[in-house]
């Protein structure tokens, strides 16, 4: 089974700055990490490879330093990695990004399954996985929390929806986006991280994936961010419960139940 796991390098901090002109995250000088949700996607790919053989390929689009996160993906079990990096990709929104990733998946060839984390913690859009499926015209299941059964012919997954669960049966090729309930990723080992440093990560440009220049980058991206602002401050009120410990606990439980928290 040939599995592609799409990953993203995201800012390590919640204090990301937004460029007032472009309304995009300023990534320069910011410490970056592998998007935490993507570690679950990698682990799911590794588990399926364990079942059916084949390979897990980590794929990312970003600046050159995103190769660091691809190395982490290799440390976590991916067999190899590919980075899409070029000035022409810069400024791509989720639609243009998913187009470029889809073109790369076509170029890799014979891919059975694409797995993404449910969303990246910087943009929080959850659109790239579904966008890839749309560009490739493959079936997809988002918010997957369990692979119920996988065979060489297809995969049955349980996905979360607003009211409960759906069980989806799909043939290959297909796209999944996964929740963190799906597995427990391994902890990175130093041996694995050092071995990943030695792996060559090819960098693909738009021409390498036959990407239409009119569909990548800032200008062709249909999304326009017109305004970005922080959420309004929360009006918190501190309530002090006084008295004997047991009475305080009773009062606290009552209060939490009244507010629907318990």
């Amino acid at each position: 089974m040939k599995i592609v796991v799409c990953i993203k390098q995201v800012p390590a901090s919640n204090d990301a700055r937004i460029d007032p002109e472009t309304k995009r995250i300023v990534r320069e000088g910011m410490k970056a990490i592998l998007n935490p949700f993507d570690t679950y996607a990698i682990e799911e790919g590794v588990q399926l490879r364990g079942q059916f053989g084949g390979e897990v390929i980590a794929l990312s689009m970003g600046p050159e330093k995103a190769a660091h996160s691809l190395r982490e993906a290799i440390s976590l079990g991916a067999d190899r990695a590919i980075l899409l990096s070029d000035r022409a990709f810069g400024g791509s929104d989720t639609w243009a990004t998913s187009y470029a990733l889809a073109k790369a998946i076509e170029k890799i060839g014979d891919v059975d399954l694409v797995i993404c984390g449910k969303q990246a913690v910087d943009g929080d859009t959850a659109q790239v996985g579904p966008g890839i499926a749309a560009h490739l015209d493959w079936p997809q299941a988002t918010y997957v929390l369990k692979v119920e059964e996988a065979s060489r012919e297809g995969i049955r997954v349980r996905r979360m929806n607003e009211n409960g669960y759906d069980v989806c049966q799909m043939g290959y090729p297909a796209v999944l986006t996964v929740l963190k309930d799906i597995n427990r990723p391994p902890v990175l080992t130093l041996k694995g991280a050092l071995a990943a440093l030695k792996v060559d990560i090819p960098v693909w440009k738009p021409q390498d994936i036959d990407a239409d220049p009119a569909k990548i980058g800032l200008d062709p991206s249909p999304t326009r961010v017109v305004k970005t602002s922080p959420p309004p401050p929360r009006n918190t009120v501190t309530k002090v419960i006084q008295g004997a410990p047991a009475d305080c606990a009773r009062e606290l439980v009552k209060d939490l139940r009244t507010r629907g928290i318990l």
Partner: protein, 266 residues
Amino acid sequence: MKEQIRKKRYQVELGPPKHDTEKLEADLELFAQKYRRCLDSGYTVGITDNAMGLLAFQGAETIEELGLPVKPDQVMIHLNTFHTKENLREILESCVKLGIRYLLIISGDGSDRLPKLQPSDLGVEGQVEAVTAVELIRYVHQQYPGVFEIGAAFNPYEPADHEFEKLERKLAAGATYVITQPIIEKNAVVDEMIRRYPGLTVFVEAWMSKRISLLSEAVGYEIPESTVFDPLKTLGELHRLYPTCGVYLSLLGFKTQYHLLDGIWQ
């Protein structure tokens, strides 16, 4: 541990490289230099375990991978409760293989990306709701009888009754030495602990950063950023106040402070 105190040898905290470092090899080299320097000085190296919940490589695997020497009296590995059972086993087996004898077992700071040991992992399901340092100390002694000497943390900034009750359970589980949270002056709760447990090996933690305001969260009150703090002078004062205790140095500046340590512990 007692011998190290008798010889007036410090414990020095070292953090292994973090997972998100973009210069892993350089960080490893720096770690190795600091580690060797401490061993050469006769100090004990205390290697942290995902301190502050920030993902880092494990102490034992770092020592093993770098081929660093282990002097059993001079290496202490921190071990917290944020591991899988399999990781825990690997860490402990590495320690055994490397001849590491000292562990500092703490509950630790978690993060979304770290697993947490479950009561069932340690065979205490139904007995506790969550694994703390107490259960982990007991488990390690059960699994590796007589192999490790285990220390525990003592936080004088927690409500004293609660902290003493926890300490009692840690000692009952098999902890034989204690390291406090950083203190910067005479501390009544630490004094009380020394009074209550006269035979216990105690290390007071000395905060070696000039930025004392970073301690605000630990001590539970706001220390203004403008506060002037002289770590070396405070270290000397701690020796005077706690002459029977060892000292654990956190955030020691290897370039700016290390060479000034000689002679402070008289």
